[in-house]
Point group: C2
Chain length 338, copies 2
């Protein structure tokens, strides 16, 4: 298995990306890791780390897509960027998967352009697992697509349900549509039209779900447009941090609570780990003809290490074949709406 890693993508690139790749290479010696980016800078980082694992190679890419670059434009202009070069390695079958913590929009655009989408899929979507009281909930889309159409959301429901069924062993995944009310007539045009599509799908569609219910285990999959999905996931991150800091700050003013906090430390540690995106590594961009793992822009070595392991695990499954098969069952509907 060969994983192309975008060494220049992310706030802490290339340092943390290279470090994480070395850790993964040491842990999984039969995997081949191709670091894509500025050869000199990558070599420099590798040397700093000491012995370079034999299963790490470098693929030179002179350009970098900056966070301020517009996605589509940069992909067309910067054909030698680390993102485009990484994606091309997979497209040309010189790698089996790509991992990137760089510009999400650019990675999605490059993957669509070079790797192409799966047959019938209009737009790829990012699926992120949110820890809840009863396990987890898969939110799709977390920011790959901010110009969603009802058909895109409908296909997100099918893709995420397939992931739940085949990778998470949930027999008949409950799919909910994120809305601002439970009633069928609630919401804007996008969600109302999506509601009607999902109602007719080969899915265990449970209807609208309000954001406060996500944590109740009501749905295994929650479908929403990329802007909203991105906002709630980053909000969850900020709120978890805020709540834990508030608990700490409020305890510091009270003698007994201060002691109580000390005794509760293992509990907070466990919750922090659950809410820590670095533990999860990257998340898959579903709907792409290949395996593409998207990481948080603030990824550190541990995130990248886990993301590479996630990519390796995913290449061993037949998730894309399962998605195509589930999509075919709904082909009539897709053709009607298109």
């Amino acid at each position: 298995m060969r994983i192309a890693v975008d060494a220049m993508g992310g706030d802490k690139a290339p340092q943390e990306i290279v470090k994480g790749s070395v850790l993964a290479a040491q842990q999984v010696p039969d995997a081949e890791i191709i670091l894509v980016g500025d050869e000199n800078r990558i070599k420099h980082e590798l040397c700093l780390g000491g012995t370079i694992p034999k299963n790490i190679t470098i693929h030179h890419a002179a350009q970098i897509v900056g966070m301020e670059d517009p996605a589509t434009h940069s992909i067309r202009q910067k054909i030698n960027s680390s993102i485009t070069q990484s994606v091309e390695l997979v497209a040309k079958r010189k790698a089996d998967a790509i991992v990137s913590a760089g510009h999400t929009g650019a990675t999605v655009a490059a993957a669509m352009l070079h790797m192409k989408t799966l047959k019938g899929i209009r737009r790829p979507g990012i699926a992120i697992s949110l820890p809840t009281l009863h396990g987890s909930c898969l939110i799709i889309d977390a920011g790959a697509n901010i110009s969603c159409k009802p058909l895109h959301l409908y296909q997100y429901g099918i893709m995420a349900s397939t992931v739940c069924k085949h990778l998470m062993n949930i027999e008949n995944p409950k799919v909910g549509l994120l809305n601002i009310g439970e009633e069928d007539a609630k919401g804007n045009d996008l969600v109302r039209e999506t509601f009607s599509l999902l109602s007719n799908a080969h899915l265990n569609f449970i209807g609208n779900i309000e954001s406060r219910e996500i944590f109740d285990g009501k749905a295994d999959v929650v479908v929403c447009e990329g802007f909203v999905g991105n906002v709630i996931l980053k909000f969850a991150e900020g709120m978890a941090k805020n709540l834990l800091t508030t608990i700490k700050a409020e305890s510091m003013n009270r003698f007994w609570a201060k002691l109580g906090l000390l005794l509760c430390k293992p509990v907070f540690q466990s919750i922090k780990t659950k809410m820590d995106f670095a533990e999860y590594g990257g998340v898959p961009l579903l709907g792409i003809n290949g395996i593409c793992i998207i990481c948080h822009g603030r990824s550190d070595a541990r995130t990248i290490q886990n993301a590479i392991k996630a990519a390796l695990k995913l290449t061993k499954t037949e998730i894309n074949e399962y998605i195509i098969s589930e999509l075919e069952k709904s082909n009539t509907l897709t053709a009607e709406v298109a």
Copy 2:
């Protein structure tokens, strides 16, 4: 001061609405509370409560807008609904403010139709204060308007900034635009066009703000469209509950943590109160020519009591005059975009 209370609106109506109104009437004897709704049912609830305060009267309204009713349609069809009748009392100057925990969309539509918007305002918006590490952050819109245009969001920024300045004594409120990235070019068409409008406004516009930063005190006002605002506020509610339950559940399995939790009880109680919407009562619908307080559908007596007190407090301010004055400063721009 006369407050029209929609007695039939909300999941716990009329019981909790009547109870809350009685509590408020007892607490503020010089206020007059007009309970609007089915006279017999209201009378029945009032009798159950014992002595009826003299400052409570009933205004009969035979119809109820159900949660499943489409907003605009129900307002045109059900002219004798408790929502429409309450709003009309204010429009006809028979009341100074309205409080409703009923169908938000219908209340907004009725207020626009009968009370009208302030001069120049295109759409009213709901402003909700979210508790953060450094105080609070005013989120606008929380669900009044799910078909937002850039001009609506621009006006939301002006209105919420005015509230911060004149009601919360924040000298030069920092106004942020909720987006999925900090860079100017990020986001969908709506936020990109709004960004350019806000950049030219008479505001302390700090640019895009990501949802994880809301809790950091980076902005006093966060502008977003109603669908997104509604989703994040309900998400915050669900997540706070989920986190506190998880802490409790995880502590129960550990002897020392269980004791620690007991010692931390006052801390959790204080946080719970901060995150409890019932404490806040209702929130103002800004941009309406009058005072309109919107309450959570699940409001109980305490929420209604606090909402009535909020309505009384707001009628004593000149918030709408301040909003009009701030809007006038930006009239040229509004005219250009319109």
